[in-house]
Every structure is written in C-alpha cells, then in structure tokens.
C-alpha cells in the first residue's frame, strides 16, 4: 500500500466525507452551528486541503493557503497516523481556534468514524443505516478518484479510461460521478444528466452489501441488481480501481 495515495484518500475521501456528514446528520450540524472557522492540512510530499465550517455547513477545497487553522504535517505516513488516531495534529496557525479542533472538530471526526465503521447494532437503526450508506458511497467515489490519480496500479487503469462522466448511483439514494479527463478522475458529488457511462445499484441494501463485500458486483450484473450502460470500458477500469479501494480503506 502506497502511503502517499493513502494520505490523499484520508484527506479528500475520509475527511472529505465531513461536508456530506454535516449535510446528512443534524447531530453533525449542531456541532458546527455557530462556527466560522477553516482547518487546513498541508502534508509534506502529499496532499493539501482545507475544510471550511460556517453556520452548520461544511465544504472542502484543495490547498491550505486560505485556512485559519493550519496543520502542517511532516510526511504522508505521519498524516495517516493522525487519521488513524495514533498521532496528534499540531497547528502552527490559528492557535486561538484550537478549541474548535479539540471540541467540535474532534466530535465531528468521532461521529464520522461511527458512521464509516458502524456496529451491527447501529445499522439496525434505519436512519443510521441510510446516512452511513450514503457516506460510504461518497467516500468510495472520492477514493476511486484519488487512487486513479495517485496509486501506481490505479494510474494504469486510469490510463485506459476515455474522457467523459462516469455516473455511479443507488436507485432511490445518492448519485455522483467521476469526471474523466486526460486519464485523471475528479469526484463530483452530484447527479449528472449527461453521463458517458452508468453503474447503478438497485437499492441501498444491495449497495451496503457490495460496500461490505458481502455480495459480488459481477453476479449482481447478472441478476439485474447492478445496472450498467454506456462506455463499458470506463466501468471496467473503474471496477479495477474499486478493487483497490478496499486495500486502502480496510
């Protein structure tokens, strides 16, 4: 496993799921209701990105130049340890906002962990199941883009992906797409009416089972539970990248 790719996934897919969490979870919104702060991570030799929090809304941008709280990290390995809870982030700017990091931000990331690594008990709650599955969907979409752009093997798959929007969706649930251009992928967390290829899971239950590795996508194509269409070569290559998502997110 490549630590640099993992750092990109951890920043843009794992922490990148916070905006969606804040959109979906009233509890998460409450943590940041009266906050106006931005937290930037600048990983040496790796990714840089900033989370902006304002009045219960969260968004993420690439780069760490415009942040209030800046957290430089010496290496991708160290950043990955921080995300794993095995190292502590130390900000160098915005020290007056450190309370946000130790308070609401920590609560948010703890909540995110609960949704992304749910217990069987939590998943019995329908609302929890729905939020958790939606978050997983968006996280996987982002992770695919990072692996396609950064991972050595992922880049081989991406080199065979022709330009165009690759739509992934769950019927009755979330939709997003990977915008392929010049063999680089960008994850976009909204629907598109002009996809070049489509892969749709028939419902949230099936999507969850696929995410958890309990059913096989190829079999589900045969049963009609996974619907494909359009430029299948795009999906073939995205599926190869999807195989590597579990390697990084296990």
């Amino acid at each position: 496993m490549d630590q640099r790719t993992l750092a990109y996934i951890n920043l843009f897919a794992v922490l990148g799921a916070l905006p969606e969490l804040c959109r979906l979870s009233p509890e998460a919104q409450a943590y940041i209701r009266n906050q106006k702060v931005s937290v930037g991570f600048d990983v040496k030799g790796g990714p840089a990105g900033t989370l902006f929090f304002e009045n219960g809304v969260c968004r993420m941008e690439e780069g760490a130049d415009k942040c209030v709280v800046r957290i430089p990290v010496g290496s991708c390995e160290k950043f990955n340890r921080i995300i794993d809870g095995k190292a502590t982030p130390i900000p160098t700017r915005g020290l007056t906002k450190i309370g946000f990091l130790t308070g609401p931000f920590t609560k948010l990331t703890d909540l995110l962990t609960r949704y992304l690594r749910p217990s069987e008990e939590d998943l019995k709650d329908e609302r929890f199941f729905d939020v958790s599955t939606r978050l997983m969907f968006h996280l996987i979409l982002s992770a695919v883009a990072q692996i396609a752009n950064e991972d050595e093997v992922g880049r081989v798959s991406a080199s065979y992906i022709v330009d165009g929007k690759i739509k992934l969706s769950i019927a009755g649930g979330p939709a997003g797409y990977l915008d392929a251009k010049d063999h680089r992928l960008t994850a976009v967390h909204q629907d598109t009416d002009r996809p070049f290829s489509v892969m749709e899971f028939c419902d949230m239950r099936l999507a969850r089972q696929l995410f958890d590795g309990k059913v096989n996508a190829v079999t589900c194509v045969g049963t009609g539970q996974v619907r494909m269409g359009g430029m299948i070569s795009q999906l073939d290559n995205v599926n190869r990248i999807l195989d590597r998502v579990s390697l990084y997110l296990a």
């Binding site: 093997v153 065979y160 070049f196 290829s197 079999t219 269409g229 359009g230 070569s233 190869r240």
Partner: protein
C-alpha cells in the same frame, strides 16, 4: 412484426447458478463480460443449437451472430464434422497412447497454413498463445514482449496489464504496450530495447472491444516483419479469433507476410475442443524443449473433427463464403439504418463484422438498439466483433435485416 421474447426461465436459472458458481456465468458468455445491457433483454442459458440458430431455455430461437464467440464456423452440429467425431469416438478419444489421427491433423495443417512447418496441439487459445510466447523466449533467451493496445491474447498473467486482479508486477514488467498502426512507436521500442525483445504478438488486425475495428495501415505488417527480422525477434500472430474467417492459409497470408508462429483455436474444429500452434521450422526445437502438456491435449475426437472441419472449409472456400454473407448482411443493416436515420458503422472483416451506432458516442443508443434486436431473435453483441458461419442462409440474413429495422423503429418510438 416479430414478437418480444420472454426470459423468465433464464433469469430463474441464473439465480440458481449464482448460488453455486462464482459470477453465476463467468467470462465472455456471462452477462457482465458479455455486456448484457439490459440483462433482461438477453438469454442466459441455451437449450439446443442447430445450424445458425440456438434456442434458449425459454424456447426462443436466435439467429446467432456470435457463433459461441467463434467456434461455430460451419453451423452447429455440422453433419460431416459430427460424423467424423462420432467415428473417432467409437475407436477411442482420451487414451494412454495418442491416436495417429493427431499426425493426420498436423499434416493437414502444415499443408493448409502458409507459414506452418509443424503443428502443436492444446485445448484453448490461451494455451497456444502462452506456448508461443514461451517458445519465443526460449529461442531468443530474451524477456520482453510487444503488445498492441486493444489486444486480447488470453487469460494468463503474462498477457494481462498491471491492474488485473491477481497479476503480479513481476509478471508484466517485461511487457511493452504500443499503439496499433504506429510504426514510429514500434521503431522506437526496438531501438530502446535493443537485443531484449523476444516477440511481437498481435492479432492480424485490431478487433478490440467498444471501438471500431481497424485494419493495418498499408505496409504496417511488412514493417513489423522487417523490424522482427532485423532484431532477431519472433513474430507471433494470434489468429485464434480471425483464423479461417479471413484466409485458409492464415491471416498473415491475407495481409501478405509470414508469421514465425501462428495460433489457432476457435474455428479449428467447429466447436470440438482443440487449439493449434503452427510455426516455422526454426522454432520447432524451441517448442520441443518446453515442458508443456495437458490431460486432454492429445484427445483424438477433436483431431478427427478438426480434419473434417478443415477439409469442409477448404471445399466451401469458407473465408470467401463468410465474407460474402457478412457483406450481404452489412448492406442490409446499413440500408435499414439509413431508412430510420441512424449512423451505423460496420468495421472489420465482413466475416467478423463490428457494429456501432455512431449517433451516440457513449454507446447507450447502440446498446438499446442491440437489445431491441435481441428481444426479437437476433443475437448481436454491443461490445465485440461478430462471427458469420456457413449455415447462415439468405433467408436468415433477410430476417435479420427485418428485425434490425423493427429494432430501429422501436428506438424511434422510444424517442431515441
């Protein structure tokens, strides 16, 4: 108007298969790799086959333009091939000592295939492409292989790309993947890997999936041949797919050059399970030196079937017959497309035609049209080249064209 088919039994059987077989139906005959879009439009299991038709387990009859992805070249259950196989089966098939029918088959291939001084038998296309590459490496004592992007040479690790599940980087680190028809890139690859390239392996023309099929540019194969000669590199033609649908003497002969090694399988024995590697004399010892064998490689029944198949193909002048039938079909399909205002592209050899509706580059419109053909009894695919067989009649072609027209009309009704 043709009725719309129902596939209830296919769906039920697939669900049953999925419980005990990985993917339900895996590989190119399965719904995922076979691009059954939508899956409900396609049959998943056959009941029987005869001539140019197969019947699915729901009782629907298809005019089959995939021919089991190539093996059916004379028509399913061809009486001459089946009789030869039956006679051999009565004598023996998989026996401790091989039958001398193996020699008859080898002699026939040597007499038939232009570049062949010998023939070596196995079971699948992948067997013989793999043996060809090993022989080339053994002969040259080199590691590197040149492939042309869009290729398919089988399922073994050596012919995959780094991102295929279960393939190790070490297994593909000596692979050079070049663009088809790019002479400059090829020259550069030879220059940058002087004395290291064991083989160039290629299909006779580019018949990759999802894209129009592309013939070699004028002089391209001659350039490849010369570069191989100048650099002591073995030239392997993978004729598994196109073999005997272009030229009985081999597809290299069709394009005016001579391969060092040529691989056959699909159409070799009209569905009986055999593949053959043929080659020039100078590589015979290299193949002899390989430790390769298989439990069923020397079974006699497929050899007898192969002899009957080749003799009949020669008698029929099969490649030209299939090209003519394919051209007649192509003319009819193009006429229907024009009538309904669609831009149908048909590429590759008429005997191995590839279809694409170019109105929608995403192929969604094309997939919808192919599905409408499927639902009315014409088995086309939306991603792969097709195969013509000798049992296809003018009436079958006329019915196909009629169904294609009905499918176009259905698209118009859907507002597509």
């Amino acid at each position: 108007m043709h009725p719309i088919f129902d596939h209830t039994k296919s769906r039920t059987q697939f669900d049953r298969a999925a419980r005990v077989i990985p993917s339900g139906v895996y590989g190119h005959l399965g719904p995922a790799e076979g691009c059954f879009i939508p899956v409900s439009a396609y049959p998943q299991f056959s009941e029987r086959a005869q001539g140019t038709y197969f019947w699915d387990i729901d009782g629907n009859r298809y005019i089959d333009y995939m021919c089991a992805y190539g093996p059916n070249i004379l028509g399913y259950n061809d009486p001459d091939v089946d009789e030869a196989a039956r006679r051999q089966r009565e004598k023996g098939d998989c026996v401790t000592a091989p039958s001398a029918v193996m020699i008859d088959f080898a002699e026939l291939l040597v007499d038939t295939v232009a570049c062949a001084d010998w023939a070596f038998f196995a079971k699948n296309g992948n067997d013989v492409t793999s043996i060809a590459v090993r022989a080339a490496r053994a002969y040259t004592h080199r590691k590197k292989l040149i492939f042309f992007k869009g290729y398919y040479h089988g399922i073994s690790p050596w012919c995959q790309k780094l991102d295929n599940a279960g393939v190790l980087p070490e297994e593909v680190q000596n692979n050079l993947y070049l663009d088809w028809n790019d002479e400059q890139q090829l020259e550069q690859a030879f220059a940058e890997n002087k004395g290291q390239i064991a083989a160039v392996i290629s299909q006779p023309y580019m018949h990759g999936n999802f894209v129009d099929n592309t013939f070699p540019k004028e002089g391209f194969w001659q350039k490849v041949r010369k570069l191989c000669d100048d650099n002591g590199t073995v030239l392997i033609v993978d004729d598994v797919r196109a073999g005997f649908r272009m030229d009985m003497k081999g597809s290299d002969h069709y394009f005016g050059f001579k391969a060092d090694l040529i691989c056959f399988c699909k159409a070799l024995a009209n569905g009986y399970n055999v593949s053959a590697l043929c080659g020039q004399d100078f590589l015979k010892n290299a193949v002899s030196g390989l430790s390769v064998t298989g439990s069923y490689w020397l079974s006699a029944v497929p050899f007898a079937a192969g002899i009957a198949c080749i003799e009949k193909m020669k008698k029929l002048n099969c490649p030209q017959l299939l090209i003519d039938k394919g051209q007649k079909l192509a003319d009819g399909l193009l006429e229907q497309a024009k009538k309904y205002g669609y831009d149908l592209h048909i590429t590759g050899m008429p005997s191995l035609f590839y279809l694409r509706l170019a109105d929608d580059p995403s192929l969604m419109l094309h997939q919808a049209w192919i599905a409408e053909c499927q639902k009315r009894g014409v088995f086309f695919t939306n991603h792969h080249n097709h195969f013509i067989n000798a049992a296809l009649s003018d009436a079958d072609i006329a019915e196909t064209v009629e169904i294609a027209g009905e499918a176009f009309a259905a698209l118009r009704e859907m507002g597509k």
